[in-house]
Symmetry: C2
Subunit: 327 residues, 2 copies
């Protein structure tokens, strides 16, 4: 009776249950209670919407978990486990081998165990749902609502590369000269397809940062979430944004749009008081993640983008809204 589905699951996803975890393969997985609070995040990723049908399955396995780990990072939570829902049009061994390899490589790197799942056949493309669990002392959570007037605004990593890679993969004109497209794609593609969740940085920022978010919907939109939740505004120095060096030859207007509005970026935007600048830099150095100070939290509501000369920048792009702004 045990047919394709069960063989499939066993073959590619079955692993010995991690220490303290019971019931894998039962109706539920049983995990030890979280130390502190249990942090939970979930994402549903669809072919054609969040990834291309021909994406490297190893990269997809990596990214499907990375986007969830990034939510834990933005909260300052330590990953513990995850569950996977996977809908496939067919049981394709080569695809599953690659997908599971990418998934488990990242899971192992973060000590995050697969403890349960659901596999099914889809009528259309691939769908992936992951729910990830972490733990943290709740009083140390890096919430969106924690920003205070006078805080510095910081960014980890670099901006813009994922957005440029997406535009190139879609065949959008005007991103690069035809002879430069391949090189630009090669230099930006990993940012789109193999983002590195900033888990270690998020942990190091506990007790240092006041507020944090990952900028998966784009810097402007996600910083806007911090401002709305914290009841304050911000001044953002757009010329100090850490734009990816690979974008040096991209037309300036597009480069700025990619940096400010480009989604699918799994860097952290966080705020911390100026008195903690050394602690922020130490957290960055200790985890090997570059950070840049790009603005300041202000009392007046709204986001004021300014250039190097202090002049307002008004042509701001919108953020990533799954229902409103991209087709």
């Amino acid at each position: 009776m045990a047919g394709g589905e069960f063989d499939l699951i066993r073959r590619w996803f079955a692993r010995p249950a991690p220490a303290g975890v019971l019931g894998v393969g039962d109706d539920c997985a049983l995990l030890p209670p979280a130390r502190g609070a249990l942090a939970v995040s979930t994402d549903l990723l669809l072919e054609g919407r969040h990834f291309f049908a021909d994406v490297d399955p190893e990269a997809l396995g990596h990214k499907a978990l990375a986007v969830n780990l990034s939510d834990l990072a933005a909260m300052g939570a330590a990953p513990t486990a995850f569950v996977l829902g996977l809908a496939l049009p067919a049981a394709d061994d080569a695809w599953l081998e690659g997908f599971s390899r990418g998934l488990f490589a990242l899971a192992d790197a973060h000590g995050c165990a697969l403890v349960g799942g659901d596999t099914t056949r889809s009528a259309g493309g691939v769908a992936i749902s992951i729910t990830v669990f972490g733990e943290l002392p709740p009083e140390q959570a890096l919430k969106r609502a924690g920003a205070r007037v006078g805080d510095d605004i910081w960014l980890s990593g670099q901006l813009g590369a994922a957005d440029v890679a997406l535009r190139l993969l879609r065949g959008e004109p005007g991103v690069a000269a035809p002879a430069q497209r391949d090189a630009l794609l090669a230099a930006t593609r990993d940012a789109l397809e193999r983002p590195q969740p900033r888990v270690a940085l998020g942990l190091a920022l506990r007790g240092v940062a006041h507020a944090a978010i990952d900028i998966s919907d784009g810097l402007l939109q996600d910083l806007g979430h911090i401002l709305a939740a914290s009841g304050c505004g911000a001044r953002l120095r757009v010329d100090e944004l850490p734009v990816a060096p690979a974008l040096a030859d991209v037309p300036p207007a597009l480069r700025r749009r990619a940096a400010l509005g480009g989604g699918d970026v799994y860097e952290l935007c966080f705020t911390a008081p100026p008195a903690r600048r050394d602690l922020v830099l130490a957290a960055a150095a200790g985890t090997g993640v570059p950070v840049a100070r790009v603005g300041v939290i202000e009392a007046a509501p709204g986001l004021r983008a300014v250039d190097d000369a202090g002049a307002p920048v008004s042509d701001l792009p919108g953020g990533f809204d799954h229902f409103a702004e991209r087709p």
Copy 2:
């Protein structure tokens, strides 16, 4: 900047955070640590695969959570919270109103709070991922591996109605005389579209049952999972199965197939020693769920189906395998 997606989520799914839960609307939800063990189950449901495109959204909201609560029930866990991933081809207010109404009615009935989610636009049909959380003392978990030789095999509720409703909705011939189809569908449809997860029964069976499973993949296949996990066999008295009375006029071979192999049934199959028959019946009476004793666990591997006269029944249907057996 906040566009359609966020308005949508706020309007239909935002509720005050339940007591002790932090961070709803943040990168992660923060839940208090589970008392005992944390039970986790996840399901990914797709239009055209798990439900029809024209299903009543209220029923779909109910069922999407019900199938997950059923996994908690089969483990003996008390529901605490869930997260929802929802992909929709468009933001349809009427659909969302119905879906959220069905979802929350069941959630409220079980004290299970929505604590986070992810909403996105799909290129095709509706996709729903739910991950549900519960808690239980781990030593009381109703695992598949707990069955012992000599245990009675019990079933809650009734069998066969969901399978018959599905056949009727698909327009399959031979299920009922044309003049009877509408009445038969009316009598069976709720079993398919509004299953009642046996949460209270699962809780009442802690310390009583040795093993349990929900029979969402069909009785034969899921009982087979108990046998495989427990390293034993069983004798099943097919004429004593609690087949839904509405199936009285369904052709006998089809009725038996529906009862033994029909999937999408959210009843519990569980085992308990004969010395605890009174305790099982008390658990059933206390929760208002009928139970029937339909077989016995034996040492010899394999499943032996017998009729009233003790003669072997050999034309057993296969169970539900998402990848192997239904198109």
